[in-house]
């Protein structure tokens, strides 16, 4: 490690421009590590009786309380009125009320791989590899968003036929769906629901922007 570090230092001195693109690429991919700390997405619910909103943080490994202590449990509790499936909390999984999300196992592995790949590509210093990484990230991002949308749809429509409240859509006459907004705002019964990316998603975006600039700067350097 020590010798490698030294080699890097010498290279930095020789090729100053390369240093920047490499740094951009390495830092960009390391930013993904933020996903292990910060939530990817956040759904916030406001209602007359919730002046302090309820919040659901979606991480790559689990769900967490978005605004106050016990938000996840309380959102899950409210969901039972409309017959929505239970959220995969530790307690619900333990008592067999919910199945764990496979995504919570896969996502950390995928992110881990992308971090390693990004760092390795960065040190290899080939701009095309940066671009490759970026394209993989875009594809993964689209897949992830599609998966997220899918879950929102399932939770919003896959309702218990014995639900306490069965409300029909006044327009279609069909049972009302409760799909939370994918992005932005939606009014669902007494709740005003907001759904926006959170710090984790911004970290990915920043990582991808850095990778993009790494590719641009890297290309200029190769031309020189």
């Amino acid at each position: 490690m020590v010798s490698l570090f030294k080699t890097e230092l010498t290279q930095f001195k020789l090729y100053k421009i390369m240093k920047i693109s490499k740094i951009l690429m390495v830092v960009g991919s390391l930013l993904l590590l933020g996903l292990f700390v910060f939530p990817l997405w956040k759904i916030t619910l406001l209602a007359p009786q919730y002046p302090e909103p309820l919040g659901l943080n979606i991480h790559i490994t689990h769900l967490s309380d978005g605004v106050q202590f016990n938000d996840v449990k309380n959102i899950d509790l409210l969901n039972h009125y409309i017959g929505m499936a239970h959220l995969p909390t530790e307690e619900n999984i333990k008592t067999g009320k919910a199945e764990p999300f496979v995504e919570f196992k896969i996502f950390p592995i995928v992110v881990g791989i992308m971090v390693v790949l990004g760092v390795v590509f960065g040190f290899m210093g080939k701009p095309n590899l940066y671009l490759t990484w970026l394209i993989i990230m875009i594809l993964l991002g689209i897949a992830g968003l599609y998966d997220f949308y899918n879950w929102l749809y399932i939770y919003g429509h896959n309702l218990d036929p014995n639900a306490i409240l069965k409300i029909t859509d006044p327009v279609t006459g069909k049972p009302m769906g409760y799909q939370p907004p994918f992005f932005g705002y939606k009014k669902i019964l007494n709740f005003e629901v907001y759904s926006y990316p959170d710090i984790g998603a911004y970290a990915i975006a920043a990582g991808m922007v850095l990778a993009f600039f790494a590719w641009i700067t890297g290309k200029k350097e190769v031309k020189r």
Partner: protein, 664 residues
């Protein structure tokens, strides 16, 4: 004939003109003044818009209700009644198994108390918003209420005392909370003639040490005083920190028809107690441990259950053994309130029967003690010469002065019961600045932070004993009330009347930002260490132990688990141990059982509570949630089948047809 006619005419005219100043007319005038005294923008000053918060908390004693009421200022809105010394069926206090021990005394379980003087804990001479202390007069007790949970956490009985009135005031770092005796008693209690009062009946001034971390109280020592009536007290502060002052009446030591016989002396005393000196004496092994019996009831918040312990001895200090610690200051006549100004220099006796305010000087007192400027002694306690300690007397500022509070500008505000007014006067000049009528017959008054070095002197609350025509009548018993004044200007301005619970003996106020941010929102279920707690529905169960049936029940929106129970028999003792599984702010559930000879229970999220039901009749008996918890509150109900004595009905318990924890 003509003269007779003339004189008749004269009488008639006189009668008519006299009649025009009859009481009805003047009464109308008074009422007109009362309303006219309210300035045009008073409504604006007390208007707290919907959804907005008051700037101050006011804790008003519930008097003979035994409780403590929490109001907001300036709106005068009542937020909560904290049960302290009396059972409260609304909250299950004193009815459920967890809180019953809070009301234990050496006389057994007592369901009622007479609460008097709330005082907020202090740090460095400022109210700190950690605890409220309040005394009970009838069965002498001091309670401590947490301002994090707004629940009573501790009640300690005061032995060797009766009429625990000159209590529960705290020193400026909450080193001690103090309890005095109003009714002298034989100590120890014994079978003697009441006629032998003089010299044989004694009073105790009790100093309770407060643990700075937990707030737990313990009796550090009792000073055994002559059997006068110790009416009110206040601590020294700033320069007089380390002293405590108690007003006395009945220095005549009368035991019958006190209204006459205890009103003979032109001057009674303020007793000055140097508690630092006594503390030192006790630390060095002074005082004598005497047998005593008093209950010490402590709330354990983890288990949210109280335990009552009967204490067996108390440390007694005789004044003669600590020379230089206790003095009497002659004070005009039968003083009620004994108040100390924010600087600690002036000790004021509110001479109830003399219509005079006696202002003593702490500086003069120290000099008098050094010079031994004494005028004899009483039961071995030196009486300081009046002129050697007195700063001055404010003569006749009104009739029947009772209590005084202070602002930060050197002014005192005194209530006058008989002339029904609050009078503002300058202490240094001994001059009246302003007076304002109150409706009617005011007792205590309160300025937030009043018993501290730093009064928060925007508002003054006057607490009135009589209301008569001020509110819509409610039969012979009408409310007592408080009146809010703005005292930020030169003149006091009446802003608002609001009714109170019980008789508001004194109050304590504090800026909301010192309390509100620390107010607890929720009890975490995972921290619930109640021995009968059930943390999730799957563990709810029913267990029989002989003729005891223990139901470990859970509640969550909106059902009980289990909600169908069979196999209970007449003659059983059924324990409902109910846990509220909710973890959302402001979602309590209640439970009431038909035929239970107790109250409902109101259970906060994350908490467990127990009531006992002894079914007497065969049948199927419902129970239900008493606190509207959700849109499905009305559905939150269940049944218990009660079989005859000795029946073989198997014990079963289910939720939706399954034993909890076994479905799927």
């Amino acid at each position: 004939m003509k003269t007779i006619f003339r004189s008749l005419l004269f009488i008639l005219v006189a009668a008519v003109s006299l009649n025009s100043c009859a009481p009805t007319g003047s009464n109308k005038e008074t009422k007109g003044t009362a309303k006219g005294a309210i300035a045009g923008n008073a409504a604006e000053k007390v208007y707290v818009a919907p959804g907005e918060h008051d700037s101050h908390y006011a804790f008003l004693s519930g008097g003979f209700s035994g409780q403590l009421a929490v109001y907001g200022l300036p709106s005068g809105r009542l937020f909560r009644v904290i049960p302290v010394f009396s059972q409260d069926p609304e909250k299950g206090y004193g009815y459920n198994e967890e809180t019953k021990p809070m009301l234990m005394t050496s006389h057994g379980f007592i369901p009622w108390g007479d609460s008097h003087h709330p005082d907020i804990s202090q740090t460095s001479g400022s109210v700190d918003g950690r605890w409220v202390f309040i005394n009970e007069n009838n069965t002498p007790r001091i309670a401590r209420i947490s301002l994090e949970t707004f629940e009573t956490e501790e009640i300690i009985e005061i032995p060797n005392s009766a009429g625990n009135h000159s209590s529960s005031f705290v020193t400026e770092n909450t080193e001690y909370v103090v309890a005095g005796t109003r009714f002298g008693v034989p100590i120890p209690q014994r079978d003697i003639s009441i006629k032998d009062y003089k010299g044989n009946f004694k009073a105790s001034l009790t100093f309770l040490k407060v643990d700075p971390e937990t707030g737990h109280m313990n009796i550090a020592f009792q000073v055994r005083m002559p059997g006068f009536d110790y009416d009110l007290s206040h601590p020294g502060r700033g320069k007089s920190h380390g002293w405590f002052f108690f007003s006395t009446y009945n220095t005549e030591e009368a035991h019958s028809l006190l209204e006459v016989n205890a009103s003979q002396n032109d001057k009674d005393f303020i007793a000055a107690i140097n508690w630092k000196k006594i503390e030192e004496y006790v630390k060095n092994g002074g005082g004598k441990k005497e047998p005593a019996k008093y209950a010490h009831n402590l709330w354990n918040d983890d288990e949210h259950s109280a335990t009552s312990t009967m204490e067996k001895e108390v440390l007694v200090v005789e004044p003669k053994d600590v020379p230089g610690a206790i003095f009497f200051l002659p004070t005009a006549k039968s003083p009620h309130g004994c108040d100390v100004d924010p600087s600690g220099e002036y000790i004021i006796g509110n001479g109830k029967l003399a219509a005079a305010m006696t202002v003593h000087s702490f500086t003069k007192m120290q000099k008098a003690i050094a010079d031994k400027a004494f005028d004899g002694e009483k039961y071995g306690i030196p009486v300081i010469k009046f002129d050697a300690v007195n700063y001055g007397v404010l003569d006749q500022p009104g009739l029947g002065p009772l209590h005084t509070e202070f602002d930060t500008r050197g002014n005192a505000y005194t209530t006058f019961f008989i002339s029904s007014e609050v009078v503002k006067w300058n202490i240094k000049d001994l001059k009246v600045i302003d007076r304002h009528p109150v409706y009617y017959s005011v007792g205590h008054l309160m300025i937030p932070g009043g018993n501290s070095q730093h009064p928060d002197d925007k508002y003054l609350v006057a607490m009135n004993k009589i209301t008569k025509d001020r509110y819509l009548p409610t039969g012979p018993e009408v409310c007592q009330s408080a009146q809010l004044f703005d005292i930020s200007g030169e003149k006091m301005e009446l802003l608002l009347d609001f009714p109170t619970i019980g008789e508001p003996h004194y109050a304590a106020g504090i800026a909301a930002d010192k309390v509100a941010p620390k107010s607890r929102k929720i009890y975490k279920l995972e921290e619930n260490k109640h021995p009968y707690a059930v943390k999730n529905e799957a563990e709810s169960k029913v267990v029989r132990k002989g003729n005891e049936v223990h139901i470990y029940m859970t509640m969550i929106r909106s059902h009980f688990s289990p909600d169908n129970i069979e196999g209970v028999r007449v003659g059983d003792k059924v324990f409902f141990h109910v846990t509220n599984l909710e973890q959302d702010y402001d979602v309590p559930h209640g439970i009431a059982m038909i035929g239970a000879n107790t109250s409902e229970m109101l259970i906060m999220p994350g908490r467990t509570s127990t009531i006992i039901w002894e079914p007497k009749e065969v049948g199927v008996w419902p129970f239900y949630c008493t606190d509207f918890c959700s849109a499905l509150h009305q559905e939150m109900q269940g049944y218990i089948r009660v079989s005859p004595r000795g029946a073989k009905t198997p014990l079963t318990y289910t939720l939706d047809g399954d034993v909890p924890g076994t479905d799927e």
